[in-house]
Symmetry: C2
C-alpha cells in the first residue's frame, strides 16, 4: 500500500435536523461546494446523500469530502472567514456532524 503523497482527505458526516426544509439543505450544500472557489487550500469537493442499506449510518444523512495538500491546509480552511460564515449560516440546520482527516494509504 503506497501512500498518496501530499493529499489529506477531510470527511464530514452530517445529519440535518428533520424539520429542515429541503431547499435549505440544498442551499447549504451549494454554499459548501462553493467554498472550493473561495478558499485556496481546498483542492476538491464532493458530496452525496447516504444511500446505505446496512443500517450502520447512525442517522447520518450526508457525506462531504474535500481534499487538501496538508493538515495545515485543512486548518487554514477551517479558520478561513468564508468557512466561518458558511458554518455560522448552516449550524442551525445541523443536528450533528463528525469530521475526520486522513492521509489515504
Amino acid at each position: 500500500m503506497e501512500e498518496s503523497k501530499g493529499v489529506v482527505k477531510h470527511i464530514l458526516l452530517a445529519k440535518f435536523k428533520d424539520d429542515t426544509p429541503p431547499e435549505k439543505v440544498d442551499e447549504i450544500i451549494k454554499n459548501f461546494a462553493n467554498l472550493v472557489n473561495l478558499i485556496e487550500p481546498m483542492k476538491s469537493f464532493h458530496w452525496g446523500k447516504d444511500i446505505s442499506t446496512s443500517n450502520k449510518h447512525e442517522g447520518f444523512t450526508h457525506v462531504f469530502e474535500a481534499t487538501f495538500e496538508s493538515l495545515e491546509a485543512v486548518n487554514e480552511y477551517v479558520a478561513h472567514p468564508a468557512h466561518d460564515e458558511f458554518a455560522a449560516a448552516s449550524k442551525a440546520a445541523i443536528e450533528k456532524f463528525i469530521a475526520v482527516d486522513y492521509i489515504p494509504t
Copy 2:
C-alpha cells in the same frame, strides 16, 4: 457538479478499543485491505488514521474507504463470505463504527 457515474463510495469510521495491541490493529487493517483481492465487486481500498486537530472526530481513530460500481455491489461485498470472516475476526477489537455509502457528486 457532475455526478461521477458508476461509483459508490463506502466509508467506514472505526474506533478500536483502547486495549487493542497495535499489532492486532495492523493485522485487521492488513486483512481489510486484502479483501480487495478476495471480493470482486470491491474496486479499490484506502485507509488512514484520523489526524484531525479540530476535535470533531467523536473518538473515531481510523477511516476506511472502498469503491464499488453500485449499491448492489456494496451489498454483495457485505454478504461475501470473506467479509463475514473478516468481520467476525475483527469485531472484538472494534469499540464502534459507522458505515455510509454515497455517490460522489
